[in-house]
Symmetry: C2
């Protein structure tokens, strides 16, 4: 019987891998990332492309776009890399000095702005179609909406973008409204879901995070670099819609049958995997993003 | 009422943070890592200290120790860094050639050995005291035993070490018994729990992973470096028990009251956190490890 089972297993075709399912998805299953929602952060290390999430954080996305239009990030710097946590970058301060060389402190110059931004930590879930994760989640019922990993709270009727590898959020000080978009971070470690609903998530890295996740870690508190000499200077940050020959990306539609197949395959890996987990956590799904130009 | 609540909140002392709880834990709550279970991997980038888990993978740990005693890792190299996944290193092949420059292929020289090792993917849970995580887990009931993050399967009565950031496992080819300890990896991304029970976990990094998580990512398949010129050469790997003035570490006893407080505080962060999650996933707990020399 064992031999027979082995023979049958050998004869059965291997089910397609998650990557193969994504690659075979029809064109209609892919959503383009709009060029005016795609940030390109350029340093000598390489370009990092970030998809913004205006549906989830409209005020913060607008503030970031205003900073980008004012070229405030040009001459800014990557000021913090904390292992298993985040890489963080800062705009030029309004006073013209260098980006801050220390751990966050309230009322730093770059935080001066006309009016505080609201805490866009969650939004009403009404009308948001969420494809369920299909596995338990440690934090909250989770799934996918519009290509984003999300979680929701049935008691408050709200939903929010989850902190996974590559999620981009807005640094803030202790008061919840002190983030102004002039300091942003990307997650480079185990998804810090405890940050969910405590910081405004404004997007996710579509390409190029590896240039920055491989930076030396800062040796100051919270992984801040101790001296500006350790910073990686930012050449410029632009919206792709303003850049000639900008790259273009597409995200697999998380409401599509192709994504349903992908999700199932992520939870039931084959090939190298002897014992499929039969489940997956939210951040191990990794919604497929592909470069099309 | 709101003002009163704010005043009361201001008057109430802030509960201790997870780090403060660990720092205040009594000496009896800390378990020393035995010097003969502590690997020191040395390269020009820095020393990475790895605690081995002989209770969980006795045959693999013995094989790794034999390779270390034979100085087989001296002159080896870090051959693979895949973003959001693993950094991997290899011993010198038995044929004296350089470590492999390509993605895994069966029957490479360093895999030649007297007899295959068993797949130590899980072990009977009988007699293992597991401190429950206290939150749902996407993959399996999870918790902590002897300082390790573990998961268990009530239907099989088995338990295993979970793949979290910093977990160290044994690279293998497609057949489950092809790992021999001559290729090891450490997790540098979101905990790949889908590898649980598919690869033998032999330990975790106690210190120094940041030297290697910050390496440039390999551009070959699976993050392997395309050429040996990209490798980081390994100076030597030794057991701390054979090295003069070796560092020493302690792990917080996961059965101690101090750890119970730490676990609760990890799930209910305060200070910067406005809305505590009230839960945590296994890999976000990060069992405290401290250097004592």
């Amino acid at each position: 019987m064992l031999l027979l089972a082995l023979l049958l297993a050998a004869a059965a075709p291997e089910p397609p891998s998650p990557a193969e399912i994504a690659a075979a998805a029809p064109a209609a299953a892919w959503r383009p990332i709009a060029a005016d929602q795609l940030l390109l952060l350029e340093t000598p290390r390489g370009t990092m492309a970030i998809e913004l999430a205006p549906d989830w954080a409209p005020a913060h996305v607008a503030a970031i776009k205003a900073l980008v239009a004012a070229e405030r990030f040009d001459g800014g710097a990557i000021t913090r890399v904390q292992d298993n946590y985040v890489v963080q970058w800062a705009a030029r301060p309004l006073d013209g000095g260098p980006p801050p060389a220390s751990a966050p402190a309230d009322a730093r110059p770059q935080r001066v702005r006309p009016a505080p931004l609201p805490a866009e930590y969650e939004r009403p879930a009404t009308g948001i179609a969420i494809t369920p994760l299909g596995s338990p989640d440690s934090y909250a019922p989770s799934g996918f909406a519009g290509g984003w990993p999300v979680a929701q709270d049935p008691t408050t009727g709200t939903a929010w973008l989850a902190h996974c590898y590559g999620s981009v959020g807005v640094g803030r000080d202790l008061p919840p409204d002190t983030g102004d978009g002039a300091e942003l971070y990307a997650v480079i470690g185990h998804g810090p879901r405890h940050l969910d609903r405590n910081i405004t998530v404004v997007g996710r890295v579509a390409e190029g995070l590896h240039y920055y996740s491989s930076l030396p870690r800062g040796t100051g508190d919270l992984g801040f670099y101790k001296t500006p000499a350790e910073y990686t200077p930012i050449t410029r940050v632009r919206l792709a819609s303003t850049v000639a020959d900008a790259p273009r990306f597409e995200v697999l539609d998380t409401a599509s049958p192709a994504f349903a197949g992908y999700l199932k395959a992520r939870a039931n890996r084959t090939g190298f995997f002897i014992r499929p987990a039969g489940a997956t956590d939210l951040c191990n799904v990794q919604v497929p993003v592909r470069r099309v130009k």
